[in-house]
Amino acid sequence: MIKHSTKPIVVSGGVLLLLIFLHQIGALNSIETVLARVLKPVLSLSYGAGTNIRNLWSAQTDRRDWQAEAGNLGEKVNSLTVENANLKQLEEENLVLRKQLAFVNSKKKKFVVANILASGDANLVNQQVVLDKGRRAGLFPGLAVLSDSGQVVGKILTVDEETARICLINQSDCQFAASMQGGNKTSGVVKGDLGLTIKMELIPQTEDIKIGEIVVTSGLEKNILRGQVLGQVAEVNKENNALWQVAKIESLIDLSSLSIVSIILP
């Protein structure tokens, strides 16, 4: 049997425990902050490179489905154009009313744009995503995270000085108070399901939920604005002997393709 010195094992074990202890008491904060600040540009570049590779891969593998989807999207664009025109009209009327009532203009909110530095292990159920902005940029736990198209994709869980960790909307520890677009009260709770799907629970039996309806944040939660899009109803499970309805929600964007997100500061 080959004999080896145990000194390196003991020393490395001691160093690990010391690092963990120093981190817990906050003694390593300055070193971690400096390292994070120095390494962030490199991480951002390499994550971007990886995202480009993934997009290229998806382009090759999904080519067959795009033609069919293009046809469907064409029709959708036409109907959305009409809806957009109507909404613009309503928006103008809204602005006039708000001015008259001396409301603060709700569109002029402060945004923080952040890059994704790292994402979680596919084998871990509660995976999170790391952003390159933290406490120094004004972020704090509980804020909603939006995609570039304005859909809610997650929520900030923890923040450090230079980075923040968020849960994605399809994760079990990510929940939002939600309502149907156009509704004025909370209809249920949207939460992720093991990183695979999104569901809306605690929907009263009296609520009439239709497939295709847009689900938005209800404004019940502090620091999350009302009316942020969470997804679209894909399936409704309504049983007469159950207390609540459950709806399956489909995200309008591909959560795995995110690279830049924004956070509205209250």
């Binding site: 390196p8 094992i9 074990g13 994550y47 590779i53 993934r54 998806s58 790292a118 871990l124 980075t163």
Partner: protein
């Protein structure tokens, strides 16, 4: 500090950054490659435990800064895995061949994932949060895919080092 040590530290940090950002952003299933684990297992060939554990501590520290996992859990899981593999390599397998390394990659992948899950579960239990320790078919399937990719990565590194550095040849048993 001499240039060799500086070179080692730079290489470890670069590999860690690649693991954190580039590899995690690759399409499924390539985002489950664990280049740090494969590299550490490859370093077993050099029978320098101090260097191996230094690489482990530095890479684990960098990974922990940018990881979404609680600080230290990834390092501890890696430390347990590598030490177990070191014991297996030098006390049981005692054969510095590619096949020994590939067996270690398989064992290390499973052990690392299992250890990480158990540590996460313990951490969540002590902090009062809930954690899903889901070990179903999907979990095993993901480990199988991750292991297969790591085995391929190990084969590539093994032959690349054999090709690039003739001094390594006596260490690497190859069929001629």
């Amino acid at each position: 500090m001499n240039w060799r040590v500086l070179g080692h530290i730079t290489l470890v940090v670069v590999l860690s950054l690649l693991q954190i950002s580039l590899i995690s952003s690759l399409p499924i299933p390539f985002n489950s490659i664990n280049i740090i684990l494969v590299t550490l297992l490859f370093l077993l060939l050099f029978d320098d435990l101090a260097m191996l554990l230094s690489w482990l501590v530095i890479s684990g520290f960098v990974l922990s800064i940018f990881s979404y996992l609680p600080f230290g859990l990834a390092i501890i899981a890696l430390w347990i895995t590598i030490l177990f593999c070191y014991f297996l390599f030098y006390q049981v397998l005692t054969n510095r061949s590619l096949y020994s390394l590939l067996i270690l990659v398989v064992i290390a992948n499973f052990l690392n994932q299992l250890t990480l899950h158990i540590l996460l579960w313990l951490n969540k239990v002590f902090t009062g949060q809930s954690y899903y320790l889901v070990m179903n078919f999907s979990w095993f399937k993901n480990i199988f895919i991750s292991t297969a990719l790591d085995v391929l990565a190990m084969i590539c590194i093994f032959y690349l080092m054999h090709f690039l550095n003739p001094r390594l040849k006596p260490f690497l048993l190859l069929k001629k």
